[in-house]
Amino acid sequence: MTDLNKLTLADARDKLRAKEITSVELTESCLAAVEKSGELNAFVHNTPEIALTQAKAADARLAEGDAPAMCGLPIGVKDLFCTKGVPSQAASRILEGFLPEYESTVTQNLFDAGSVMLGKLNMDEFAMGSSNETSVYGNAVNPWRRGNDDAKLTPGGSSGGSAAAVAADICLAATGTDTGGSIRQPAAFTGIVGIKPTYGRCSRWGVVAFASSLDQAGPMTKSVRDAAIMLEAMAGHDAKDSTSAELAVPNFEAMLTGDIKGKKIGIPKEYRMDGMPAEIVKLWEDGTAMLKAAGAEIVDISLPHTKYALPAYYVIAPAEASSNLARYDGVRYGHRATLAQGDGITEMYEKTRAEGFGHEVKNRVMIGTYVLSAGFYDAYYNRARRVRALIKKDFDDVFAAGVDAILTPATPSAAFGLGEMNDADPVKMYLNDVFTVTVNLAGLPGISVPTGMDSQGLPLGLQLIGRPWEEGDLLNTAYALENAAGFVAKPSQWW
């Protein structure tokens, strides 16, 4: 069988269990796709030996009839996850040469469930960015192109490598992380599914921290069903992460009935931004109509503090980042600058961090340091925390009023060209997160589902936001939307 790499997780799983294929065959197919994918720059570190070892082990388990959820399924892992003995650099020069002696809880959970790791995936440096252009490895490239235009487009970010790899069928699925939209925006830009679960659903242990109170890992997959399968394997309480929830993980896949009759779907008026492209407006209206046709009740809702979300996010996230990134000081691991005679510890810090961090990371560390500094703390950080509480309350009120899920656009536009934002005000880049950051601030689950195309043939996605801890219900609504939208387009292979 050819093109096994094009399978979904669910289909591959079924074929493996039916002994139609082996994990080694599946893995080799993916590894071949990895080899051919250089132009996409999605994989930044390949681990074929690990993949084949895991595939063989998976085949042995399959032969014994002991096949856990992800048994034998090849995936890619975002470079933000620490993987034992495998370079884990968060796409930053400052972690040059760093080989963790530990495995992140999420990747360990995936391995325990039988997953096969093909390698590490490109991303924005320390997950800071929306275009994958801040990576020390250079940007990943979106497999989608505008019509016959050769211009390379961004896969989005920060999980750009993950999105590109899944969209291009290089791997069956990938891990992502989402601090302000880093799973959902790239998923929307590449026509795949990405879910950010409720904060606390997936352990953050072993995931390089960007903004601790916002970071969550999640799956990036070819279908909603795959997202359900993979999220279940990733999630779970972890005593090593104090913010991990002590809750049982439901069987998400079993909740995918596609039946959303009587579900109340909220359409927040504040997300109808001024100057929103007509295509996005239409996508949203179409999605609304699809859910209504599937039996859901559509209600207009208000999330009044939405407009303050982006500014609050760009205070809180950099504040936490400025502190989280202090450990990259050249003392114990990673990059250390070559020092001149007479240089002391201050010079070592300054030179190491000047060389090790890229421009965007430095921007955010400086913003974060500023907003936490004496005299500004109340005006910025504390005020942003209060805004955050209000945003959370907006959602609480809506859910308390009986709304089951909220439908919004995932992004304000389709994928843009690489380099297009180079000269733009950084705030323009930050606007990519305008529909997604509220979800992180409120700690809610949010999923991006591809539901349409723009006039240039680029995929567009809608976002569904769910009640906390009800990813199963959210996935089911997303499943109904996916069924109704029938998005099956794939990028034509040019790489």
């Binding site: 996850f81 504040a319 202090a326 003392v331």
Partner: protein, 503 residues
């Protein structure tokens, strides 16, 4: 039980060139929690291990590592708070204090700035029998210790030892209620005593397991009382903080020096800068630690890796029910139950091991006699050998045995001291030793009478003199004691001598 009542000590007054000045002192004591593992990691806290032997991935701040709270350390902070009659905050939270230093791998210290686990409490600081200062405790919070930077091993390199990194500290912050160098030392002593009673900190100052930052300011007499009435700090002088003191003696010397330095500045028309200073014991002076430009902005903010620390009142109550008897209660009880002087009670309760030893000796015996023997004979003897009570070669039962022999008039006080020395050096059952070695006091009046009769018969001239001047009877007593090898019961001898000389 009766509470002991105290008078407040007078504040220390230093005469400047122009005026008299008083001191106002507040202390921040860092006490290392006696725990096996660190505050947020499972690494060992064992002192004296090879450098960097006690380091987990969390302590080394490896990427993606997260802190998880050590419940035992929380319990010790609560226990300490309860012992200081402090408010226990069922809701507290951890904050990050951000600064760069090689022995601080995270680039921040996890501490509790905004919401400490323990609130207001107090400590009675004994200065002399009947005189004590009540010092308010503002708060106790939990925080991580830093590691150690070593700069003198190599001319070009610095080294870092992370063994201490992340070890749990309780920072115990006093109110500015301390009024002199001696009171400051006494405060630390008392706090150390309480912590050792509780077992929440071993109080080892040499190893740095307990150290203090000392805040010193000066004011004119009367100003402190105004501050107390109003709570307005502007009545007091500008304070300077002397960092990291780990000796009672240096604490006192540093305060004395610092107060005089401030007096000289103010009397010279200058202003004291609020700053952090270091004490140099070799030169006996304090020096500014960093200039204003170098002052840190710690950018405290709530640690997003840790949820607020919520504890249950029932758990606090459980801890409370297991608190040991504390020094003040014990002292008071010793005074009331054993009839001891406050001074003796203080000596015996200074260390809980001493108090336990004493109680075993004193139980069922004369408390004062037991106290005398424990304090004067045992402590003196142990001190001579440079031993602590836990190394005492003589057990409470043995010492009790010696005392029993005194109380039953089986041996005299003088013989008892010999007996003590024998038991101390050779061991054994005191009663048996007395029996075996014939040390028993002769209370048999017949034997004493026989000896006395012999002496009277042999010394008629002395008898005559003594009959005229009864004060000379002592000579006969001495002779009888000599004749009986010191074993005669002195009381019986006295009686008999008096009787016989009367004729």
């Amino acid at each position: 039980m009766l509470d002991l009542t105290y008078e407040t000590p007078k504040p220390k007054v230093i005469a400047g060139a122009k005026h008299d000045w008083e001191l106002v002192i507040g202390l921040e004591v860092h006490a290392q929690v006696s725990s096996n593992a660190k505050l947020f990691s499972g690494a060992s806290t064992q002192f004296g291990n090879e450098p960097n032997a006690n380091v987990s991935f969390v302590d080394a701040a490896m990427p993606g590592m997260l802190p998880t709270i050590n419940e035992y350390c929380v319990e010790q902070a609560v226990r300490t708070g309860l012992a200081l009659n402090a408010e226990i905050n069922l809701w507290s939270a951890f904050d990050r204090k951000n600064y760069f230093y090689p022995d601080l791998p995270q680039g921040y210290q996890i501490s509790q700035l905004y919401h400490p686990i323990v609130g207001e409490g107090e400590i009675i600081v004994d200065m002399a029998p009947g005189i004590a200062r009540k010092v308010g405790v503002e708060r106790i919070h939990l925080e991580q210790d830093a590691g150690k930077s070593v700069h003198d091993m190599d001319p070009n390199m610095s080294f870092v030892d992370l063994n201490r990194t992340g070890v749990a500290l309780m920072e115990i912050v006093s109110r500015p209620d301390i009024r002199g160098p001696e009171e400051a030392a006494a405060y630390v002593t008392k706090l150390r005593q309480i912590l050792r009673y509780l077992g929440t900190c071993d109080g080892n100052m040499q190893n740095g397991n307990m150290r203090a930052d000392v805040n010193v300011s000066i004011c004119r007499p009367g100003q402190y009382e105004k501050y107390q009435e109003t709570g307005d700090f502007s009545h007091l002088g500008t304070r300077c903080e002397i960092k990291n003191m780990n000796s009672m003696r240096f604490i006192q010397m540093a305060i004395e020096y610092e107060a005089r330095r401030q007096i000289a500045i103010v009397e010279g028309g200058g202003k004291v800068d609020q700053e952090t200073r270091l004490y140099d014991a070799d030169k006996n002076e304090t020096r500014s630690m960093r200039s204003k430009e170098e002052a840190h902005d710690y950018r405290y903010f709530p640690d997003p890796d840790l949820l607020p620390l919520e504890i249950e009142q029932a758990w606090v109550d459980d801890i409370k029910s297991t608190l040991p008897e504390l020094p003040d209660e014990k002292k008071s009880r010793f005074v009331n139950d054993f009839g001891l002087s406050e001074y003796d009670a203080s000596v015996l309760t200074a260390e809980s091991e001493n108090a336990v030893f004493f109680e075993e000796v004193a139980n069922g015996r004369n408390g004062k006699l037991a106290a005398n023997w424990v304090i004067n004979e045992l402590f003196g003897r142990l001190k001579k050998d440079d031993k602590g009570i836990s190394d005492s070669p003589i057990s409470p039962a043995q010492l009790g045995g010696v005392i029993d022999l005194i109380s039953s008039d089986a041996i005299s006080g003088k013989i008892a001291k010999d007996l003590f020395e024998i038991v101390y050096t050779e061991g054994g059952d005191p009663a048996q030793i007395v029996e075996d070695r014939g040390m028993k006091q002769v209370t048999d009046t017949g034997a004493i009478e026989a000896a006395l009769d012999e002496i009277i018969a042999a010394n008629p001239a002395q008898v005559e003199k003594a009959q005229q001047n009864p004060k000379l009877a002592g000579w006969f007593v001495g002779q009888v004691m000599k004749a009986t090898g010191g074993k005669a019961n002195p009381k019986a001898v006295n009686q008999l001598v008096a009787q016989k000389l009367k004729g």
